[in-house]
Amino acid sequence: MALRNQSYDHPNYTVVRQFCAPPYPTATSAVAFASFRSRVKVIVNAITAVVYSAASVAKVIFTVSRAGSANQTFTIASATSAGAMTVVSCAVTLLSAGDLLSLSIDESSGGYQILYEYTVIPTESLYSNQ
């Protein structure tokens, strides 16, 4: 399969893709989870965090890290309720598979599931048989 570039308005570049990270069943403070990488350059436009199993404190703070560096933070205000969620918009660019996007939290209770929405940046070459 060959690497191919497509036109700027090709669906490969206009479709918003989603990645649903596996559940993180029991949080540990400051430990990275929900890791995501892309071989091609992408921009992550939104992150959704869902409380999978209730935490013992209401407010938990998530830190978004790109390649090990903190990028931004967001909170869930009612983490004692399973099903509570928060959606944060962002603009985190991952240049290659070497860039790791991950989260950590300030709490060691509760379980969480993370969704990323991202778009491949135009001119990126994808492997394709088309």
Binding site: Q18, N45, A46, G83, M85, S89, L115
Partner: protein, 129 residues
Amino acid sequence: MALRSFAYDDPNYTLTRQFCSDKADIASSAEVFASFRSRVKVVVNSITAYIVSAASAASAVYTVLRSGSANTTFTFGAGTAGNMTVISCAITLESAGDLLSIKSGQGGGEYQILYEYNVIPGASLYSNQ
């Protein structure tokens, strides 16, 4: 980044997407695995279940759960590793609060699940376009 809606025939809505779950090592009957969520409204059209390593019984019934409630079931024709089953379905997930998952009908074995789904027209996605 802004929330955007697209035309009904935009590839954001016509493209069939796939999600491949992590391999699940099932310890006991009724264990729930292969969880999938979507922030935007989607319809899951197909589920493929693959046996990575076999459990003992071939006739166990696996239950597809939508937010904890049974939606449909499937079985494997044979319980050997490498065997798979594909079912068609129409399970709508309204938001990230709706969890799609599988409940095992028996203990033992390893499984991997593939979901095929479409974003429902009208759903707004975060986009930098």
